[in-house]
């Protein structure tokens, strides 16, 4: 992965040689091209703009196809991002194109959180690439790179200046993605107004320190055209998928009662310039910039956050493995410490519980004893009562017996009396 600003360094051990014949390694670029063509290319575009500003139409016009799009409503509560991937082919070159659109951007009453979702999305793509890079078994050449290579920011054609939301959003995104601002629906601005509008926008961007993507001028073959195009930023575009008959040809245009705006006519709008710059000339540079600048920045920040550094406090270079080992040890140590702590707390808790249980047991025991005593008391009372009852009973039975005896005696005496009487009576005789 070569960085775009690699400089041939004159190594002391390497001396330039002149060749005496044709060797053939000038076919290296061709081999590279063949290989990449067979692999296919991948490009991801993010379109940010208000609902209805023409993002989907412009994409359709740029790539000359009809991506299935549906209108979104203005009443979304939050900004969402919708990504769709397509496989396109032109001559023998295959392109895997992902178009990410914002849904509901600029519609809410309170737009302070709008940029956050976009930033999160971009970071997520970087994160997944980073994860893939850090894997042990990785397959980078098969990996579907979903990092955003270009961000088209659609500016509403008010004719005065940027909106406050535009400024805030672009500031947050300029260090994460290549921003290409475009003026949408440019058929509502006349030429003089357009000139003033572009100047105003660029001055506002510069004065607020927003870094938009500049087409590269270090490559001689494209330097001239790129410099010229840099002066035309932001591009004022008009999109259309309908065709109108002009003269003898059918061209993409918009038909008005007062005239026909031709999309591919350079004096009508900058669509052709955008297409050239975005697709024909600088697509590869956009990808490279994303990888070498934005992604590296993200990676550095992320790893620093995690605690990795290139040099340790004594300014000696520290390799990733070392740092990783240190981190691991730290982590394990931390783990052990935590475990100890937990064990301590556990033991403590157990002790506490035990003592509690013991107390409870003692209490119960005491209660048991008390109950037993009470029970014994009751029992003795009952015993007493029984005894008295029995006594009463015996007394009663004695008295009964006595009374019976008495009765029997009286009977006997009466009968004796009778007998006596009888004897007496008989005696007298």
């Amino acid at each position: 992965m070569a960085s775009s600003d690699v400089v041939r360094q004159m190594d002391k051990n390497a001396r330039p040689l002149a060749l005496s014949g044709h060797v053939g390694f000038d076919s290296l670029p061709d081999q590279l091209v063949n290989k990449s063509t067979s692999q296919g290319f991948c490009f991801n575009i993010l379109c940010i703009g208000e609902t209805g500003i023409g993002k989907s139409t412009l994409m359709d016009t740029l790539f000359n196809t009809n991506f299935e799009n549906f209108e979104s409503s203005h009443f979304e509560p939050k900004v969402k991002l919708r990504a769709q991937t397509y496989d396109l082919q032109e001559s023998n070159v295959r392109l895997k194109l992902t178009v990410v659109n914002t849904v509901g951007f600029g519609d809410q009453m309170n737009k302070q959180e709008s940029y956050q979702h976009i930033v999160d999305y971009i970071d997520t793509q970087f994160e997944s690439y980073l994860q893939e890079e850090l894997k042990i078994k990785r397959s980078l050449h098969n990996y579907h790179d979903s990092r955003i290579h270009a961000c088209l920011y659609f500016i509403a054609p008010s004719g005065h200046s940027l909106k406050s939301l535009d400024l805030v959003t672009m500031k947050k995104l300029d260090s994460k993605v290549n921003i290409i601002p475009v003026i949408a629906k440019a058929d509502t601005i006349s030429k003089s107004e357009l000139h003033k509008f572009k100047i105003k926008i660029m001055s506002e961007l510069v004065s607020n320190g927003v870094q938009i993507y500049q087409f590269p001028i270090d490559d001689e073959s494209v330097a001239k055209i790129n410099t010229a195009m840099n002066g035309h930023l932001p591009f004022a575009v008009v999109g259309s998928t309908e065709e109108v008959n002009i003269g003898t040809k059918m061209v993409k245009a918009r038909q008005y009662p007062w005239g026909v705006v031709q999309v591919e006519n350079e004096s009508h709008c900058d669509f052709v310039k955008l297409r050239e710059m975005l697709i024909c000339v600088n697509m590869e540079d956009l990808r490279e910039q994303t990888h070498s600048r934005h992604y590296e920045l993200y990676r550095r920040c992320k790893l620093e956050e995690m605690g990795f550094r290139d040099t340790d406090p004594e300014s000696k270079p520290v390799s990733l493995q070392q740092t990783y080992e240190e981190k691991r040890q730290e982590f394990l140590g931390e783990l052990q410490r935590r475990e100890e702590e937990m064990r301590q707390t556990f033991v403590q808790r157990v002790k506490e519980k035990e003592s509690e249980l013991k107390d409870a047991e003692r209490e119960l025991q005491g209660k048991f004893e008390q109950l037993k005593r009470m029970h014994a008391e009751e029992k003795s009372k009952l015993e007493e009562k029984r005894r008295s009852l029995e006594e009463d009973m015996s007394v009663f039975s004695k008295r009964r017996a006595a009374s019976e005896l008495l009765q029997a005696q009286t009977f006997n005496t009466s009968s004796n009396n009778k007998k006596d009487k009888d004897r007496k009576n008989s005696g007298f005789m």
């Binding site: 208000e50 609902t51 209805g52 500003i53 023409g54 209108e71 979104s72 409503s73 203005h74 009443f75 519609d107 809410q108 009453m109 309170n110 737009k111 302070q112 509403a156 054609p157 008010s158 004719g159 005065h160 200046s161 940027l162 909106k163 406050s164 939301l165 535009d166 400024l167 805030v168 949408a184 629906k185 058929d187 509502t188 006349s190 030429k191 506002e204 607020n208 918009r254 038909q255 008005y256 009662p257 007062w258 005239g259 026909v260 705006v261 031709q262 004096s267 009508h268």
Partner: protein, 376 residues
């Protein structure tokens, strides 16, 4: 029939002094057929006034439309804010008053502008300064009307509010809906689709239909044209119907004059053609102008006076009387405002409440007495 010509005819009829065509030679001629003439004369002498409010995000062409409507340049020394200054901008209310005259008729025109509306990043309740302003005007008029010296009442009430909807979206946005719902019972709202030169005719139709549906769906009461009388001419009725089906108007404004088809007209020059502001097939600007100035200006004023102002007034008075009914300390309620000549209705209301209060007090006293006796 050319609608413009028809409008002209109508205007002529209203404006030119009616001649005594009904002067008959028989003795039954009284002469009050000249009353319209007299009204005309007096009104010309008195002059007219009109307050127009324009609202919408910045960059939608509001000032250009106002300049095009009244063919003057009201915004000569305007300073526009940068994007960074607008991040936390609050809504201001600015007034421009001009005196213009045409054929002896004087008009005092006040344009109330709302810079900063919808421009900040956080637009929660951005309409509050606007509703406060409108209420303030109503309150001031209420006080003046109820005051002792009513000779020189200044009518600063807002008669009409032009609300600009951006043509770049699919319909109304949350900020549009919230604004119109907050204001539709205080002022006549006329929604407009601005910068209509970015829409092809079919797109214009679609957007108008969408906006009309959404207005109905959200229950927003925009200004409705009055039904024309059944004895008007057929063409007038036709025109009226067309006008109604055209809302919301899709307008284009221009500050510059360009050369088109051999004439000098107000328009916008593009590489692919020239948009003429006053060409009916290009945009609805002419319809807006006719409606706003030539035929319905007075109706807008009437609706403001009769409907919106009366609503405000009734609400105000109701609040006052409900506050006083709670306050039982005084026997006769003292009005908060000095009302030397209150309405017959309000007097009745006050008398009724008075009697109720008296009755309730008597009952209370009786009950207290009874309780006292019982205790004893």
């Amino acid at each position: 029939m050319d609608t413009m010509m028809l409008q002209e005819k109508l205007v002529e009829k209203l404006l030119c002094p009616r001649t005594r065509t009904t002067r008959q030679k028989d003795k039954q001629y009284v002469g009050f057929a000249t009353l319209p003439n007299q009204v005309h004369r007096k009104s010309v002498k008195k002059g007219f006034d009109f307050t127009l409010m324009v609202a919408g995000e910045s960059g939608l062409g509001k000032s250009t439309i106002v300049n095009s409507l009244f063919l003057t340049d009201l915004y000569k020394d305007r300073k526009l804010l940068n994007a960074e200054e607008r991040i936390n901008q609050t809504v201001e209310i600015t007034k421009h008053t001009v005196d213009i005259e045409e054929k002896g008729v004087k008009l005092k025109l006040t344009i109330v502008d709302t810079p900063g509306f919808g421009d900040a990043v956080n637009n929660n309740e951005c309409w509050k300064p606007i509703t406060d302003y409108i209420d303030q005007q109503f309150e001031q008029y209420f006080r003046d009307e109820s005051g002792l010296n009513r000779k020189n009442i200044l009518d600063n009430r807002v008669h009409c509010c032009l609300y600009f909807i951006p043509p770049f979206g699919h319909g109304l946005r949350p900020v549009d809906v919230e604004f119109m719902k907050a204001l539709h019972e205080k002022v006549n709202i006329i929604p407009l689709i601005s910068k209509a030169d970015c829409l092809t005719p079919s797109e214009v139709k679609k957007l108008k239909g969408r906006v009309r549906d959404e207005i109905e769906h959200f229950g927003i009461k925009v200004y409705q044209f009055p039904e024309c009388d059944s004895d008007e001419e057929e063409e007038f009725k036709q025109m009226d119907k067309e006008l109604k089906e055209c809302t919301p108007f899709a307008v284009i404004g221009s500050n510059t004059v360009v050369e088109a088809r051999g004439q000098r007209v107000r328009g916008r020059l593009y590489p692919w053609g020239i948009v003429e502001v006053e060409n009916q097939s290009h945009c609805d600007f002419v319809k807006l102008r006719n409606m706003l100035i030539r035929s319905h200006m007075h109706d807008l004023k009437d609706v403001t006076c009769d409907v919106h102002y009366e609503n405000y007034r009734a609400n105000c008075i109701q609040e006052m009387t409900s506050k006083l009914a709670q306050d039982n300390r005084t026997d006769s309620p003292l009005p908060i405002l000095p009302l030397p000549t209150p309405d017959v209705e309000t007097e009745k209301l006050i008398k009724m409440k008075d009697e109720e209060l008296k009755k309730m007090q008597e009952m209370l006293e009786k009950m207290q007495q009874q309780m006292h006796e019982k205790d004893q």
